[in-house]
């Protein structure tokens, strides 16, 4: 039985020497079979398991994770949440995700430090302001909050940026106040604990090595801890989607790329929102621990290495200096990489695979973290009811063959441009 976290549990444990805390989830051995197996114990997999249990009453579920829970991209991203999308296929999905973020902590009884500090996209030219006005209007039509700010309104929010930069003067910005950041590890831990409490088995250090089929039906997974049967299997393995789907003989419209992220030494509070540079790929915020958290482009070549190369580090540092010269006095503390499942139109896939009982959740590109709650919600809906959720109907696997792409950037089938 899950101990409920509250102010009373904090005070009670403070008075008893912090000896009363229990592990947040069990460490069960795999059972011979489950109704549903989710492959991948990251944010999306754990959220899926939680919503299977809480929304659909399906609790005979295992999450199979090759490492430890949250060891992949859910702990490697830059923690931003937002729903400032343009296209009809995306807007309702990401807005549903933001709504779920807004109620997440109460729902799972876990402090994920959801902070709606705003996401501010800067524009540097009249043309870019027009593009942001269009995006903002599309968002407002869809019931999403968006405000177009002029330069002085931006200056009020973030006066320390380089507004008079010779090449990239700041002309204004598109602000989504409901956007912000979330403590990403807590998302994995919170979903894990809440799923475990509803009977989901979280099986760590257990790598899936094969998907067993009988005819066109999936019947279970081969793992490093033996065979486990399943009526349904859902894949939520991010950068390894191609590898794992390949075990079932599938080829996916996905390339795996490395994306780097960065954090500075810890500083006093310096920036209280999330700012994105409009003239290069760069965005920055500050964690509650004080580090400036920032990121940029993927390295641009296929990679499963979880580490990147110097050119992107230099590019990100140059963007930072163009936007905010004072940052040159700050030391970079850490830099790391995660492997992204870059789809061919920059949008995700939540769909059947064509193999009975095998479901796919993949193609999250840069955008996986903010999508975590809705991804889990919609994937659980698909697995439980065999029908796509109404906000995820566009995320079909066959859309590349039918021409119904969701290409926010209009970049075409070139993953390193999305």
């Amino acid at each position: 039985m899950m101990t409920r976290y509250s102010i009373f549990s904090v005070v009670k444990n403070a008075l008893t020497g912090q000896r009363g805390w229990q592990p947040a989830w069990r460490d069960p051995a795999p059972k011979p079979a489950y109704d549903v197996i989710i492959v991948g114990g990251g944010g999306h997999g754990l959220a899926t398991a939680y919503y299977l249990a809480s929304q659909h009453g399906i609790t005979n579920v295992a999450v199979i994770e090759k490492g430890y829970l949250g060891s992949g991209n859910v702990g490697r991203n830059t923690t931003i949440i937002r729903s400032n999308y343009l296209l009809p296929g995306n807007t309702p999905f990401y807005e549903w995700s933001l709504k779920l973020w807004e109620g997440l902590e109460q729902d799972i009884n876990y402090n994920a430090m959801v902070s709606q500090r705003g996401v501010l996209n800067l524009c540097h030219s009249d043309a870019q302001r027009d593009a942001y006005a269009r995006r903002g209007n599309a968002m407002r039509f869809a019931g999403v909050d968006a405000e177009l700010l002029d330069r002085e309104q931006v200056r009020e929010m973030v006066p320390f940026l380089d507004f008079e930069n010779g090449r990239f003067p700041i002309r204004g910005g598109l602000l989504q106040r409901r956007g912000g950041s979330v403590r990403h590890d807590a998302v994995a831990w919170g979903y894990a604990r809440a799923a475990d409490a509803r009977g989901v088995d979280l099986i760590q250090n257990c790598e899936v090595t094969g998907l067993r089929r009988e005819g066109n039906r999936i019947v279970g997974v081969e793992t490093t801890r033996g065979y486990i049967g399943a009526k349904k299997v859902g894949l939520a393995v991010a950068g390894n989607s191609g590898r794992v789907a390949g075990m079932a003989g599938l080829t996916l419209p996905i390339e795996t790329h490395v994306l780097q992220a960065f954090v500075s030494e810890a500083l006093k509070p310096l920036i209280d929102t999330v700012v994105t540079f409009g003239a290069g790929h760069f965005y920055i915020s500050q964690s509650d621990k004080g580090g400036l958290v920032f990121g940029g482009d993927i390295d641009g070549y296929n990679s499963y290495a979880q580490r990147g190369n110097m050119p992107i580090i230099e590019d990100v540092a140059e963007c930072a200096m163009a936007l905010w010269p004072a940052i040159g006095r700050v030391r970079m503390l850490r830099q790391w990489g995660g492997v992204m499942d870059m789809s061919m139109d920059g949008s995700p896939i939540i769909d059947h695979t064509g193999i009975d009982g095998l479901y796919l959740n993949a193609g999250w590109c840069y955008g996986g973290f903010k999508a975590t709650p809705a991804s889990g919600w919609c994937f659980a809906h698909l697995i439980a009811r065999d029908q796509p959720h109404e906000v995820a109907t566009a995320y079909r696997l066959d859309r590349f063959a039918t021409g119904r792409l969701i290409d926010e950037k209009g970049a075409g089938a070139q993953p390193n441009l999305h």
Binding site: L252, T256, G300, N302, S303, N309, P311, F400
Partner: protein
């Protein structure tokens, strides 16, 4: 990462632009069916391990190159000129 161009020698990766894994020959668009074109355009090589891939020496000799690289380590085993490749059929 450094790439050894067969014409220019060992150069920094930022001199090159990337296309992706080597696809099969391009189907004849007028005759090919949707499935064939879909396979060619969208179903790209994505191995965790050795890959044959196209790089363009944009800030050098303007040659298209094929690198044999391991996507798990970024180690490059060989680089050859794409013009010398054997066209698979």
């Amino acid at each position: 990462m450094r790439i050894t161009c067969p014409y220019c020698g060992e150069r920094d990766v930022r001199e090159f632009s990337y296309l992706g894994g080597e696809p099969g020959p391009r189907p004849e668009g007028r005759d090919a069916d949707i499935e064939t074109m879909f396979e060619h355009v969208y179903q790209r090589p994505n191995p965790a391990g050795p890959i044959r891939e196209y790089w363009y020496h944009a800030a050098g000799c303007h040659s298209w190159l094929i690198a044999e690289r391991d996507t798990r380590t970024h180690a490059i085993a060989a680089v050859t000129a794409a013009a010398d490749r054997e066209v698979r059929s």
